[in-house]
């Protein structure tokens, strides 16, 4: 809805005014610690490594619960679910630590955009931490109670695994909302927290694309893992064979990849057009061709007799790796194209602010700035502002009134100076006074004299 509205606005007012509606934060005034392109290259590569293990964690968590449920009817599936749940806790640890690297890179490479998106979805963003902690602890519970919670306790055990899987399914949506929101500064104004941010751009097509990808990647890796001759299937997974497991997971890979032929184009057609470039379309076209190739290879793998199964694994894996690299590149190109104009505005604004700062400092140093220059030396009257937050002439603010001070120190201005340098706490009704030793004796004396003169000149009656 919002997006349609803003597209309408563009066509009426032109792109320039569209971008003008965006808030323009200032960038941080320190140089990048490494070359911008190296940084962005690192970001893309490290992100893909992170997302690979996220795929395995998410796909594993979902499959393990599904097989556990299937296992209630076909018991040998229960052992398969258990074995997969053991991989989840390992993959999740790797996924989290590998996430920190790309997080550092995106913080650096897209500082203002990323931080703005974080702040706009703040509560959801920070809730990622407790949510993932809970999911991790549930995943451990699921793994370590598998053989203990049987019989009557089995439904509870399934519920534990299911809860972990559901949290794992939800958290990527928060990440995607941020990664998506940072691309469309012109829409930031309309965002009122996480849920409204889901209306910006095309979060949901991206989300489903990601979920299916997780399933495809996990299934392919599992096809290899349990299909290896070295894997003791008879011992750990009685009721299965190497070839049967391979076929099972190849099928899952096939269906998930086939579903991408729906979700992929859906993602592309719902992509806001700002960032769509010819290169992006070329890459996406290439990816579609490769995906069809993968489907073809998988079909052959599933159909060949037992002794030949597994020969196509390496070609499939390599093609899939290529697809992932291309998608990572496409994603980066789209981001760059979306942000190019806004990034330029940020740079302009940051530069002109810096010029302003330096100019102001120079004028200050030369004593040219009328507002900041102090005419003449310090006087008691000017210095009294240090006291005025708490002391007033004939009124109790946060401390005794000046009239009271006068009655104590009428002929003893040095007494005020001594007290102000090292005040004690005398009265229970007030907070103790902070020390003003940093002003120095000379200035304190000016203030003390001013106070005494002001009170005596004010005509307020002094109670002795």
């Amino acid at each position: 809805m919002m997006r349609k509205l803003s597209i309408l606005t563009i066509s009426l007012l032109g792109l320039a005014s569209f971008i003008q509606a965006a808030p323009i934060p200032r960038d941080i005034d320190l140089p990048l610690p490494l070359d911008e392109w190296t940084l962005k290259f690192l970001l893309v590569i490290l992100f893909l490594a992170h997302i690979f293990f996220i795929n395995l964690m998410l796909g594993g968590a979902v499959l393990s619960v599904i097989f556990e449920m299937v296992g209630r009817k076909f018991p040998h599936y229960d052992a398969l679910g258990k074995k997969i749940s053991e991989t989840v806790t390992v993959n999740k640890s790797i996924a989290v630590v590998l996430g920190v690297g790309p997080l550092l890179c995106i913080n650096l490479a897209y500082t203002t955009h990323f931080y703005s998106a974080n702040a706009l979805t703040g509560l959801a963003w920070i809730s990622v931490i407790p949510l993932v902690i809970i999911a991790f602890l549930l995943a451990y519970l699921h793994k370590y109670t598998w053989d203990k919670w049987t019989g009557e306790k089995k439904p509870t055990h399934i519920l534990v695994g299911l809860s972990a899987a559901l949290i794992f399914l939800f958290v990527p949506l928060i990440f995607l909302a941020n990664i998506n929101l940072m691309l469309f500064p012109a829409d930031w104004q309309g965002v009122r927290g996480f849920f409204s941010s889901l209306r910006v751009g095309n979060v949901f097509p991206r989300y489903f694309h990601f979920l299916t990808a997780s399933l495809a990647v996990t299934s392919l890796i599992l096809a290899w893992w349990y299909g290896r001759k070295k894997y003791p299937v008879e011992k750990f997974l009685p009721g299965f064979t190497h070839e049967g497991l391979r076929r099972l997971f190849y099928r899952l890979t096939f269906y998930a990849t086939a579903a991408q032929l729906v979700f992929g184009p859906l993602l592309l057609f719902t992509l806001p057009y700002e960032g769509i470039t010819t290169w992006l379309l070329i890459i996406v076209g290439l990816v579609i061709i490769l995906a069809i190739g993968i489907l073809h290879l998988l079909r052959r793998e599933i159909k060949v007799p037992n002794e030949k199964i597994g020969r196509m694994f390496i070609p499939v894996l390599l093609t899939l790796t290529l697809v992932v690299l291309l998608m990572g590149t496409a994603r980066h190109l789209y981001r760059e194209a979306c942000l190019v104009e806004h990034t330029r505005l940020i740079a302009d604004r940051s530069q002109s602010f810096q010029a302003n700062v330096i100019g102001t400092q120079m004028r200050l140093a030369a004593g040219l700035d009328a507002g900041a220059a102090v005419g003449g030396g310090p006087t008691g009257e000017k210095l009294f502002i240090n006291c005025a937050a708490c002391h007033a002439l004939n009124k109790v603010l946060a401390a005794p009134s000046l009239v009271e001070v006068y009655s104590l120190y009428k002929d003893n201005p040095e007494g005020i100076v001594t007290w102000a340098k090292n005040p004690g706490k005398k009265r229970p009704e007030f907070a103790p006074m902070p020390s003003f030793a940093h002003l120095g004796d000379e200035k304190l004396r000016l203030v003390a004299d001013y106070i005494l003169e002001m009170v005596s000149g004010s005509g307020v009656s002094i109670l002795e």
Binding site: L34, S93, N118, A119, L123, N356, D369, A389, A431
Partner: protein, 463 residues
């Protein structure tokens, strides 16, 4: 601008950071050397009880560090990005390579933790056992190494050394507070690891068994042994803390009417350390005398002290987030004159009111509050401005001129506060907002869901 009222932004970082430290120090940096030592001792004395105990403790460490520990570490990135984006963004630009290296060490550490725990039974005998003990040693070094790197950043926030002049990476890393703080944290982590292990021993061993007494004595000696270097490190650290920061501590606590509390606290801290030493002595000489669950007390005391060290460290670096470079509200020291002349709203990104008129006084004051005060203060919850001013001025309507005078001089009378980064009109608007806040108990529930923006007035020519 992200802001959580009542609970407070400051507390969010504090809670996540503290949980992380409570896990990292006693359960990772300090614990892996201790567990490896236990495993080695069991191997040398050919006593499988030691091995079992070490294995069980490691299971606990493994689960907690790879979930709560790792996630709260990431949580520090998330929360600081929300609350102090300018601070963390600047630190990242200075320390990127340090953090990047730490990240690689961190990845290795997690892989090693998993290998160490998951291979325990598989590598159970012969040459494999030796390898496994070696793995524990390497893990201990890696997990200490993450501390080695991160403390450089923490030290930098307190004392930036010569960095503001030369902006070089090396002078930022080897800031004056780095090495003493590292020594302090390392030794204290080793002590708290002992306290935690003590506590766990009672969960993982049976009453009256030989291994329980042996283990209690073993850990007691471990704690006592680390107390000497810890005392030396504390002294070193204390000497390196700049004088004005120490003054800050006193002034800060004094103005908040905590003077007596402060003294009691110092006594309590000494008492806690003393109690730990006494329990350790008894444990070393007569392990039988230590009753089981009582050992939660030294562990709790140890964590309480650790929490307090962090609190004090965070407090005394004020008013800066990066010493002498950036104030805790994200305002750079060098930008202050511009804000004080033009006003900070004119240069802010996410605000509605940029020029102050008699009509928008209140709304603009709220903007000023969010931009300049809300990093540390809430309206009505923890560390709220309402309570602060009520303590000073009581319940009578607050005096406008007194508030203005306070804003103008708060950084001199309260040296932990930054100077007000706005112009006179903004000070007036903020005063209006504060005076209104005294009686209208407005509560900024969800700042990120309730904001408006006008296009920035300065800096860019219209296109």
């Amino acid at each position: 601008m992200f802001f959580i009222d009542f609970f407070g932004n400051r507390l969010l970082i504090a809670v996540i950071g503290s949980i992380h430290v409570f896990i990292n120090h006693p359960l990772a940096v300090g614990a892996y050397p201790l567990v490896t030592l236990m495993e080695w001792w069991g191997y040398r004395t050919k006593n499988p009880d030691w091995d079992n105990l070490a294995h069980r403790i490691t299971f606990f460490l493994f689960v907690v560090t790879t979930s709560v520990g790792a996630l709260t570490g990431v949580g520090i990135w998330f929360s600081t990005a929300l609350i102090a984006p300018f601070g963390i963004g600047s630190l990242l630009r200075v320390f990127f390579w340090a953090w990047f290296t730490e990240w690689i060490v961190f990845v290795s550490e997690v892989l090693l933790i998993m290998a160490y725990y998951l291979l325990w039974k598989k590598w159970g005998a012969g040459i494999h056992k030796k390898l496994h003990i070696g793995l524990g040693a390497v893990l201990s070094i890696f997990s200490w190494f993450t501390m080695v790197i991160i403390v450089a950043v923490l030290g930098f926030m307190m004392g930036s050394g010569t960095w503001p002049q030369d902006q070089s990476f090396l002078s930022a890393v080897f800031n004056p507070l780095y090495l003493p703080q590292l020594a302090f944290r390392t030794t204290y982590a080793l002590i708290t690891a002992g306290l935690c292990a003590w506590f766990l021993i009672f969960f993982f061993t049976k009453k009256g068994t030989e291994i329980r007494q042996k283990a209690v004595r073993f850990v007691a000696r471990w704690i006592l042994a680390w107390f000497v270097p810890f005392a030396l490190a504390s002294l070193w650290y204390w000497q390196r803390i700049p004088e004005d920061m120490k003054a800050n501590l006193n002034v800060g606590l004094l103005t908040q009417r905590f003077m007596q509390w402060h003294e009691t606290l110092a006594v309590l801290m000494l008492f806690a350390l003393g109690a730990i030493i006494i329990v350790a002595l008894i444990g070393a000489i007569r392990p039988r005398m230590i009753p089981g669950l009582v050992l939660i007390i030294p562990f709790a005391l140890g964590l309480w002290l650790l929490g307090h060290f962090e609190r004090v460290r965070e407090f005394i670096r004020k008013p800066y987030v990066i010493a002498d470079y950036m104030y805790s509200n994200g305002v750079k020291v060098s930008d202050l004159p511009v804000y004080q002349r033009d006003g900070i709203l004119a240069h802010a990104a996410f605000v509605e009111n940029r020029q102050i008129t008699s009509e928008n006084m209140l709304a603009a004051g709220r903007d000023v509050f969010l931009v300049t005060c809300s990093r540390c203060h809430t309206t009505a919850g923890l560390n709220s401005v309402r309570t602060k001013f009520a303590t000073m001025y009581g319940n009578e309507p607050w005096d406008k001129n007194a508030l203005l005078a306070f804003l103008a001089t708060m950084h001199t009378s309260r040296t932990f506060m930054p100077p007000f980064p706005g112009n006179d009109k903004e000070a007036e608007a903020l005063t209006t907002y504060l005076k209104n806040l005294q009686f209208d108990h407005e509560f900024i529930i969800d700042a990120q869901a309730d904001w408006k923006i006008s296009s920035p007035a300065t800096g860019i020519a219209p296109r």
